[in-house]
Subunit: 324 residues, 2 copies
């Protein structure tokens, strides 16, 4: 069995070996840049780990795993334009380092580079893998659309929110697991369990991400907290608070959302006080726990020896324990 670190090294080597043997560097420089500033390589590692669950031979899953990472980075290049993000993983975003046009076009070419990687899946399963990948890519676009639409909406229900994070985040984790299982020659039932493991893990992960922005320890989390509150972001915390609040609490919450000029620290403190009185942290932690439980139940049910599952369990725990 490969460990997380071994698999991340395999992915990093595959990223490093990507060759862009083409006429112009200008198009591919931003691709290399974005791919090299790294991140945790969660998705491709999951593809390889999921494959490794069913077979010791993971070589054939490396390029498709890389394809999932390229697809993920394609969405980042374009999402960062749409969200006007300045920084990504501590470095300037592509549209800021170059310009918007370059980020659009270098993003575009990544979609086709991802296709190419996915097309390298083993012949007997390549069409299955392509279908999973492509359906997922369309879902991710729909998720991003929902996320964009939320900004303009005055009310978002928690059902809508959960559907959005499912499409924008969880299906990609799910598909990464599923593709690994398909290439690892798992049977249809095991493949679908791996998909469910990934989907529920992805849901829990995204909900945790919302929790961390408000309740994370900045030293552990590595980012400032409270930015979601300052920007009125429709996180699951705010959505739940708006559902549960009434009377004066609801009035104060709505007032805070409408403030045009304010002291960020004060706004964070006021909103957090309401969250605390409504017990939002526990409510949302419980939601995340339910997804975590479903994830582990799906993995538990996969018909392979327990010791083969250990690396995946460790990775899942690492992902979900960032709050502590």
């Amino acid at each position: 069995m490969y460990t997380y670190l071994e698999l991340r090294d395999i992915v990093n080597k595959a990223v490093h070996n990507m060759s862009y043997d083409y006429d112009t560097d200008r198009l591919f420089e931003p691709v290399k840049y974005l791919m090299s500033i790294g991140g945790k390589r969660i998705r491709p590692v999951m593809t390889l780990m999921s494959c490794n669950l069913f077979t010791d031979k993971i070589e054939k899953a490396i390029l498709p795993a890389l394809g999932m990472e390229v697809l993920h980075n394609f969405t980042l290049a374009h999402d960062d334009i749409m969200d006007k993000s300045e920084m990504r993983r501590g470095s300037p975003t592509v549209h800021r380092k170059w310009d918007v046009n370059q980020a659009i076009l270098s993003g575009d070419v990544m979609a086709f580079i991802a296709n190419e990687c996915i097309m390298a899946a083993p012949a007997p399963v390549v069409m299955d893998v392509l279908k999973i990948y492509n359906d997922t890519a369309i879902e991710v676009c729909i998720g991003q659309q929902m996320d964009m639409d939320f900004e303009k909406k005055s009310f978002v229900s928690h059902t809508e929110y959960l559907r959005m994070i499912e499409l924008k985040t969880a299906v990609m984790i799910a598909a990464s697991m599923q593709i690994g299982a398909v290439i690892g020659s798992a049977g249809p039932d095991e493949i679908s369990k791996m998909y469910n493991f990934g989907r529920n893990l992805g849901m829990a992960f995204q909900i945790q991400d919302d929790l961390l922005d408000t309740y994370g320890d900045p030293k552990v989390f590595g980012k400032k907290t409270g930015t979601d509150i300052v920007s009125n972001k429709k996180t699951i915390l705010l959505i739940k608070a708006l559902e549960l609040a009434s009377g004066n609490q609801l009035k104060t919450l709505n007032e805070q959302l409408k403030l045009e000029s304010f002291d960020p620290g004060e706004k964070i403190a006021t909103v957090k006080t309401i969250f605390d009185r409504l017990n939002i942290k526990t409510v949302v932690e419980d939601m995340a726990s339910r997804y975590t439980d479903m994830a582990y139940a799906a993995l538990d049910d996969v018909n392979v020896k327990q010791r083969r599952k250990e690396e995946l369990i460790k990775l899942a725990a690492d992902l979900l324990n960032r709050i502590k």
Copy 2:
């Protein structure tokens, strides 16, 4: 044999029947809009015509042909943002009718819808078709990059220019033909001749497009002429003129390129006078003719009965005779 009009109807029906059975309309409205404002459906018709050259059964080529049209429209959605174009086929561009973010995201989803259409190619050839399609899509991105880079360059050689239009325009026409031939079960030699037919036709077509902007009859052409001269666009006409001019002509030409405020009519007249003295129209028409001759030679060499080629010859002639 199907005629151009019959095949265009088949394509239009396929466009009309595209179903977007998803959660959100906002993402797909711009896709439907851009696909429905039409155009001549050159690329998918070429796929079907090329298939029809080798077989009477063209049904299996319809979805892949549609894929080429969707890919083409994907590039238009994003190119229009990059070029800040306001109008496309007489209607507002997607980023103007909606906004830039929507045009990026709806463009993105089109790349994956195109994948899906291409993946519907018949099983025995689907991987071949996917490879042609995907390599072409990457080349089109490189062509767009070169085109963007040209704007910032003070000098572009005619060799660079020809490479740019080959990648940005000709390979897409070539791939449309090639995919039709592959699905029509043509042999490897015939497939490569069809690719060359398309490539040379695409080159001649793009060179003609430059000629039309300066020398077209606005009544026939349907657009104002001289816009390329006004905007200093590095067309093959200007590139050739800069290569051939010397002395006072070169001086005047360079002065015109540097003018910051000017009367458009006067600038067009001055530049056109230099073009005329340098015989640019004939020089560039000769270039187009050489590509046209190579295109017809490639088609001529394809091993099917002459009468089967008639529709393709008619379509090629229509495309190339727009100037008259």
